[in-house]
């Protein structure tokens, strides 16, 4: 669509130049790529920006005016937020601002690792269940069994068997999240297998590995990506819960759950100890969920069709 300007004098008699279309009738410009995605889906932009900010905060925590988050200062216990201690200090005199910023590292590490590991394992299991019919029943009943255990209980049991560490928290939550991804992948694979374009590919002589690689996998990625964001959010909450009840990250490592657990006793008199980590957790989970909702809409093939 190019703008051509016609000199009115050069037209043959009887012809006139069509008037400019009013703004409302101009063709809609469909933007593609990343810019189009962010413009068309503001939730993706907002969620993504928030999450990016939090990741940057976690990465650059030592350079953001923080002190050692584990340094004790008994003389400065339970100070209210001030110019010296932006978020106040806890019962042991540790700077909550520093602890919350460093705590972001734990939450984001756990959230992202669980999302990645659970997606990878769920993808593999879901693919196998969707393609190898005899394995389907066995795998899915096993997953049903895993799902019937409350994730928190499963995590507590795993933590009780092993020593408390961030790695074990990740493992515990991942095991609990795998069934959800594998169920999703399996159902997507089963519906994709029946698509006429897969039949057409078989008729075209495409070998099974290429059918999976070219026709099944790319169409599985979008719903899985969306699911991964939800898993990321729920993993961060589970981590906080585990730390809060003392079954998660060891108390020597600052995490939002730990900080809240330590401030719990003083909740009524010193609410800021709980408030700041809770606010950060809420905003992070909100950001990830916004991103997930936005991606769900943006990656829906039906949306692409309607353009």
């Amino acid at each position: 669509m190019t703008d051509t300007t016609v000199n009115p004098q050069s037209l043959p008699a009887g012809l006139v130049v069509a008037p400019q279309l009013p703004e409302i009738l101009r063709p809609v410009v469909i933007r593609r790529g990343l810019v189009g995605l962010l413009r068309g889906h503001p939730t993706v932009a907002i969620g993504g920006a928030l999450l990016l900010t939090l990741v940057l905060i976690a990465v650059f925590a030592p350079y953001l005016g923080t002190v050692d988050p584990t340094a004790l200062a008994p003389a400065k216990r339970t100070r209210a937020p001030s110019a010296d201690f932006w978020f106040g200090t806890d019962v042991l005199g540790r700077d909550i601002y520093s602890r919350v910023l460093f705590g972001a590292r734990v939450s984001l590490t756990v959230g992202l690792s669980v999302a990645i590991f659970a997606s990878a394992a769920g993808l593999a299991i879901g693919m196998i269940a969707g393609f190898i019919r005899w394995a389907d029943g066995i795998l899915m009943r096993f997953m049903d069994g895993l799902m019937s255990i409350p994730p928190i209980l499963l995590a507590i049991a795993l933590m009780a068997l092993t020593r408390g560490s961030v790695g074990n928290v990740i493992l515990a939550i991942t095991v609990a999240e795998i069934p959800r991804v594998s169920r999703l992948v399996r159902s997507v694979v089963l519906s994709l297998r029946e698509q006429p374009y897969v039949d057409a590919a078989v008729a075209c002589g495409t070998r099974s590995p290429m059918i999976i690689l070219r026709h099944i996998l790319p169409n599985t990625v979008a719903p899985m990506l969306v699911q991964a964001t939800y898993i990321c959010a729920s993993a961060m909450i589970t981590e906080a819960i585990l730390s809060f009840i003392g079954a998660g990250t060891p108390p020597t490592i600052p995490s939002w759950g730990n900080i809240m657990a330590e401030g719990r006793a003083l909740w009524q008199v010193k609410p800021y100890i709980v408030f700041f980590p809770a606010a950060f957790l809420s905003v992070t989970v909100l950001a990830v969920n916004l991103l997930g909702d936005g991606l769900r809409d943006a990656l829906d093939p039906r949306m692409a069709k309607s353009l």
Binding site: P196, Y197, D199, V202, A203, G205, T206, R214, A304, K305
Partner: protein, 330 residues
């Protein structure tokens, strides 16, 4: 005399019905239950019948998208229903497919170029990258789509254009037979006509044989050489186009044809209204499968199954009436 391009002998496909908690395979859907026909080179055979009669299953069995229960599918004298995977891959090139739904028959994440290149690469038809490009662009010319469209994705096209892409993909393998599974049913009338004409042009250009699976008798009459009528997993009548449309023998064929609307306003045809529903293919009726709805039913129909019998030069009918009372039908 060389063998026909495609020969289907007593093809049966029974799908197990999973019932109960422990997946006992106690019942079967008799989707296709003993179907035989032949297609000559360059010929169009139409397979017609109402929804659920098994006509699409026949098409999918020929493409070997599943293993058949029994019977034979013979392509150019060679059985393909039990061919080894390596042989089958080479045979697949010769039979291609165009599906009904132009939306779900193209992978939404692939460019048209890659969709068309897939069969060419699979069968090693292109000698070089340049040859591949030449083939892909000439396919676009063949189905009358602009070459620039090669870099687009399926959702940027209309239903008719997508169906052209589907036809181009089928042609890419240089097949001898194309199974058109309701290939025009999902299209608007005007687009339908264009695609039908395109298929006819391609048939005469490349000497293609078509298995045209359809329920649209008006289209079938326009483009077919022969017609096979299916009812509940069996062929009830096979005849050349002229015979089937002018002098149908089987009561079901007569009922089907009487239901085709006439183009003239106000024209009446006295349609034969069949009573009742199509019986379940899980539990097909005994004897003649059509006896529950046939207006001419008599005792023998309920117990004995009629065989396909020659009822004319090239006309075959499976009906006891043909035998019991030949005078009535002539």
């Amino acid at each position: 005399m060389s063998p026909p391009l495609l020969q289907v002998n007593d093809l049966k496909k029974h799908f197990p019905v999973k019932t109960g908690l422990f997946n006992r395979k106690s019942e079967f859907v008799y989707a296709v239950d003993g179907v035989s026909f032949e297609i000559a080179r360059g010929e169009t055979l139409s397979l017609v019948g109402e929804s659920g009669c098994g006509k699409s299953t026949v098409g999918r069995a020929i493409l070997r998208l599943f293993e058949i229960t029994s019977g034979q599918v013979i392509l150019d004298g060679q059985r393909i229903d039990d061919a080894a995977p390596s042989t089958m891959r080479q045979m697949r090139r010769r039979v291609q497919v165009v599906f009904q739904d132009p939306f779900s028959s193209l992978n939404p994440r692939m460019r048209v170029r890659d969709i068309l290149a897939e069969p060419i690469r699979n069968f090693g038809l292109a000698k070089s990258a340049e040859d591949l490009e030449v083939r892909v662009t000439s396919l676009m010319d063949t189905v009358r789509l602009p070459r620039e469209a090669l870099n687009r994705r399926p959702h940027e096209f209309s239903g008719g254009q997508r169906q052209r892409i589907g036809i181009a993909r089928a042609l890419a393998a240089e097949p001898e037979l194309i199974v058109c599974d309701e290939a025009v049913s999902a299209l608007d009338v005007s687009v339908k006509a264009q695609i039908v004409n395109l298929l006819q042009d391609l048939q005469s250009e490349f000497g293609l044989a078509l298995l045209f699976i359809s329920h649209d008798l008006a289209i079938v009459e326009h483009m077919t050489h022969r017609v096979a009528v299916m009812y509940l997993g069996k062929i009830v009548e096979v005849a050349p186009r002229r015979e089937i449309f002018a002098a149908p023998r089987h009561p079901y064929t007569k009922a089907l044809l009487s239901a085709v609307p006439l183009p003239e306003p106000g024209a009446q045809r006295n349609p034969i209204i069949l009573k009742g529903d199509v019986p379940s293919p899980i539990n097909p009726p005994s004897g003649c499968r059509f006896h529950t709805r046939c207006p001419f039913v008599f005792d023998r129909c309920r117990t004995e199954e009629p065989m396909l019998r020659a009822a004319g030069a090239e006309q075959w009918v499976a009906c006891h009436l043909e035998e019991a009372a030949p005078a009535m039908s002539s």
